[in-house]
Structures are given as C-alpha cells and as structure tokens.
C-alpha cells in the first residue's frame, strides 16, 4: 500500500540535507538511541492522531542519500519494535526538494506492509491506510519541526 505526504520548511535545502544526513539525532523525533554511522538501527518514537496520541517505538534504518538533479532522496525503513499491532512496517523515501525563497519541501513516499497478515489485509482498507497515513504525517511534521528548531538554534548560536 502507498502513502505520501509533504510539508515545507523555511530552511535552505543544503542545510536540510546536512541535518538529515549528518546527524540523525538532531531530527529523528523522540530518538531513543544515538547513532554514529549511517545504516545503524535507530530507535525512535512515532505516533498518530491529535486527539488520542498513541506513540510507540520503531526501529529506523537510514540509507545513503541518492542525489538527483531535482532533489535528494534519503531512503529509510522503519519496523515496529516488538509486537507490531496496528503500526505498519514502512519502506520510505524521504525527499528533500528545493522551493523558491530558500524554502524546502520535505516529502515522504512510503510503502507499507499490513502488519497483521491476512487480517491486516482486510483491516487495511478501513483502518490501516488511515493509521499509516496518520503515522507518516505525524512523523514528517515532527521532522519538520525538529529541522526548524535546529535551524533556529544554529542561527541563534551563530553557527
């Protein structure tokens, strides 16, 4: 199944790429384990829903970015830690694309596997797609917030 979502951040694409590629600890929301190398399995928290916020730990693996003419793509995969419940396993591409006025579009194109086997496939039509979409939306929103915050901190610190 497919899900796609995008946001804009008021940070120049080069800085966004540096942040995303250079220091996962600075942007992965709710990062629970620091990482020093690309490809490490990171533990992060993702959630969905604004009214009833459910969070759980996922393992996130990051790939080496693929630089295209129009954008940079950071492949990632997340897998629910422990029993998966309703949270899907995702293979996703996080895209960093230049907009006007030194703004950046962050987009996520995700493909997910229903977590409950045959039952998951039945549930998927009604619930899973909303869970998956809400989860990646929440994830990307929080990534954008973290990037804005980090950018602000850098600007304030003169770095």
């Amino acid at each position: 199944m497919f899900a796609r979502y995008f946001v804009e951040v008021g940070v120049e694409p080069g800085e966004v790429t540096d942040l995303l590629v250079g220091g996962p600890e600075s942007w992965l929301p709710g990062l629970a384990a620091s990482a020093t190398h690309q490809g490490d399995v990171l533990l992060a928290n993702v959630g969905f829903g604004h009214d009833v916020r459910i969070e759980r730990a996922v393992e996130i693996e990051l790939g080496v970015p693929l630089e295209l003419t129009s954008k940079t793509i950071l492949p990632l995969r997340w897998t629910p830690s422990g029993a998966s419940g309703l949270f899907p396993a995702l293979d996703a591409d996080l895209e960093i694309a230049r907009l006007e006025d030194e703004r950046t579009q962050l987009a996520i194109s995700a493909r997910y596997v229903p977590p409950l086997g045959a039952l998951g496939r039945v549930l998927d039509r009604a619930i899973m797609s909303r869970v998956a979409e809400a989860t990646i939306k929440d994830f990307l929103d929080r990534v954008a917030q973290a990037i804005d915050a980090e950018h602000g901190a850098r600007a304030a610190g003169g770095t």
Partner: protein, 382 residues
C-alpha cells in the same frame, strides 16, 4: 682473437637481452629475466637481484636463480644488507672480487648457504635512482669474473633499469585504466539508478496511489479486489526496482523485503500443504541478499514445492542465515527422504534448484536419508 669472439658473443647476448627485456611488461618477470640474462652473459652459476626499499636501507625483495626452492628455504631469511651486499648498496658501483670468502669486508654466509668465491655485483638504476643490485657468483670454468663480464653486466644493468621503469609505467597505466573503467561503470550505474528513481518509480507510485484511491471508492467488492491486486503488483514492481537501484549502490539501504517474502512464502506453503513450517530468517543476511531476492525466493519456492509434492513431511523449516561463505538458505523436512543415487539425474525440481544456484555463483548441497528427511542448502556469495 678468442677474446674478440667472446666479446662479439656478449654483444649479441646483450642486444638480445635488451630486446627481451623491453618486450616484457610484467615487472616480476622482468626481474627474473634480468638475473637469468646476467648469469648467461657472465657464465655465473648463481645469480640474484636485490630490490631496495624506498629508503634504500634494506633489501625488500631478493630474487635468486641457480639454487632450488629447497636450498633457499634451508638458507632461511633473505639477506638484509650486510657484508658485500651491503657494501654494494652503500657504494653504488659495480664490484668484482676473486674470492669473497677471503675478503675482509665479507660478513660470511649463513648455514646451508652454498660455497661461493668469485663475485660480481652491479647496481641497477632506474630513472637515476638505485632500484637494486645484481649479484653474480661462481664464474664457471674460471676463477673470477673478467673486466668484460663487468662491462657487460653494467650494460645489462642499464637496460634492466629501462625495462623496470617500462614495466612500472605499464603497471601504472594498467591500474589507471582499470580504475577509470571501474569509475565509468559506477557512474553509469549511478545514472541509471537516478533515472529509474526519478522517473519510473515516481510514475509507478503515482499510478499506485491513484488505483488505491479508486479501489476505496469502487462500487462493488470484485472491482475493489481487482484494483487492490493491481496495486500490489505495482508495489512489487517498485520493490524490485528499489532493490535494483540500491543494490547497485554500495552501503545503501536496500528495500528489506526478502525476509518478509520468505515468511509469506512459508505461510502460504503451510496453509496449502498443511506441513507445519517454521521460519528462521536473519534480517541482516536477508538485507545483504536483497540484490538476489528474486533468486532466493524462487529457490525457497522450488524447494518447498519439492517438499509438498514428494516428502510427505509433517514439519519443515526454512532458515536464512550468514555463514563464512555467504548467505545460507536451508530448507529441511522430516519427510520420507530419498536416495540421491536413484534419482534420475537430479530430478526436474532439483535440477532447477541447481541451475538457479549456479546462475548466481552459489553452491547447492542436498542431503537426504530414507525415513529421516531431506535438507537443501543453497549458499549464495555476498
């Protein structure tokens, strides 16, 4: 008159030597040929060439001719540059000695070293630097090497320097060409990967999203089911493309779907065959084999099909794990087993397994005992 004939012979040998050396491009072979030619020109029984280290303080390599491997092993380590050998390194000029065993500058020979008396040594210069030294001993049918021998070896050493430099340059050019070839392949792969990702995958993703949305609004379940089937096919195509793209690139996260595919395959097999199937997949190995995912899944499918059709098994196990030789896919069952010797050829199923494993440079091992079951092991290099 005799000296003139000998001198003429040496000249001819030197010309031949020069031609031989410049036609040889492999450095190791050039060094061996230099020693052989020097021995031939001077009628020496033993010959050696010591290649100096970058700092010119020690001998890095020592090529010998005239003694056997066994004799050389019995002598022990290569000389480090004492005695006459060291003197030649220091003085950087050719030397001729009637009996080195009596020369006060001699350091003596190690145990098991053949006795040597007459000695002729000359430096080999390449691009104005001392590359090493030629050592010749035991002039045959004479007590010592002659001035003509010395002159001939000096000429040969000069030719050798050119040949060595020639071989080195050739090696550098060859390495540079190989490096350029590798870079071109990498650049080409990178370009293909980018085009596939930016074009084909994006288009497939858009179609998949659209069909997914249409399926949700479909007026009847059958249409919805068919559209969802199409979405799954598109998903599979994207997954294969991603595996291809990221499999081409080093150190990048490939689409980690092999473990999932094997689990699904085993689940379907269990459901269909009623053979209890246990799956034990090492996720890291599965990701390392992402580039061979299609083959690994097909291997598992073929092996499970054999279990379902022939084994009469109660239980079956599918394992994927890392070994020193690569990724190991193992399917074993507790079925009736069979005698490999009585199977016609390998049987169609086993032949298919063998053919697929061979095509990816892997190794197939099948063990079976009547009444105890069968184990199929496919090792795929990573």
């Amino acid at each position: 008159m005799g000296d003139e004939v000998q001198a003429g012979g040496e000249e001819r040998l030197l010309i031949e030597a020069g031609l031989t050396l410049v036609s040889e491009l492999d450095l190791d072979r050039v060094l061996e040929r230099i020693v052989e030619l020097a021995m031939k020109i001077t009628s020496a029984r033993f010959g050696a060439l010591g290649v100096l280290s970058e700092d010119h303080l020690r001998i890095e390599r020592f090529i010998t001719k005239g003694i056997s491997e066994e004799e050389r092993a019995a002598i022990g380590d290569n000389p480090v540059g004492h005695g006459m050998i060291g003197l030649l390194i220091e003085e950087r000029r050719s030397m001729r000695i009637r009996d080195i065993s009596k020369d006060p500058r001699s350091f003596g020979f190690p145990p098991n070293h053949p006795p040597m008396r007459s000695f002729l040594g000359a430096p080999v210069l390449a691009l104005g630097k001392v590359f090493g030294n030629i050592y010749l001993t035991e002039k045959q049918e004479a007590d010592e090497f002659t001035e003509a021998d010395q002159a001939a070896v000096e000429v040969l050493a000069t030719q050798a320097g050119v040949a060595i430099e020639n071989a080195r340059l050739y090696e550098e050019v060859r390495e540079a060409e190989e490096q350029r070839g590798r870079l071109e392949i990498l650049e080409d792969r990178e370009r293909i990967a980018k085009e596939l990702h930016d074009g084909v995958i994006q288009a497939l993703f858009a179609v998949g999203m659209s069909l997914q949305g249409t399926a949700a609004m479909a007026p009847d379940p059958e249409t919805s089911r068919r559209l969802e089937g199409a979405v799954e096919e598109i998903d599979r195509a994207i997954r294969d493309l991603r595996n291809y793209i990221f499999g081409l690139r080093p150190d990048i996260l490939a689409d980690r779907q092999l473990d999932q595919a094997l689990k699904e395959l085993a689940g379907e097999f269990q459901e269909r065959s009623e053979v209890v199937t246990v799956v034990d997949i090492d996720a890291v190995t599965a990701s390392e084999l992402a580039g061979w995912a299609t083959d690994v899944v097909q291997l598992a499918r073929e092996a499970l099909s054999n279990v379902g059709r022939h084994a009469g098994a109660q239980t079956c196990r599918v394992t994927l794990r890392r070994t020193l030789d690569g990724g190991l896919l193992e399917i074993d069952d507790d079925g009736v087993g069979f005698d490999l010797a009585t199977v016609d050829g390998l049987g169609m199923g086993l032949a298919n397994l063998r053919s697929r494993v061979d095509s990816i440079g892997g190794r197939l091992e099948i063990t079976s005992t009547r009444g105890e079951g069968t184990t199929v092991r496919a090792t795929i290099p990573i």
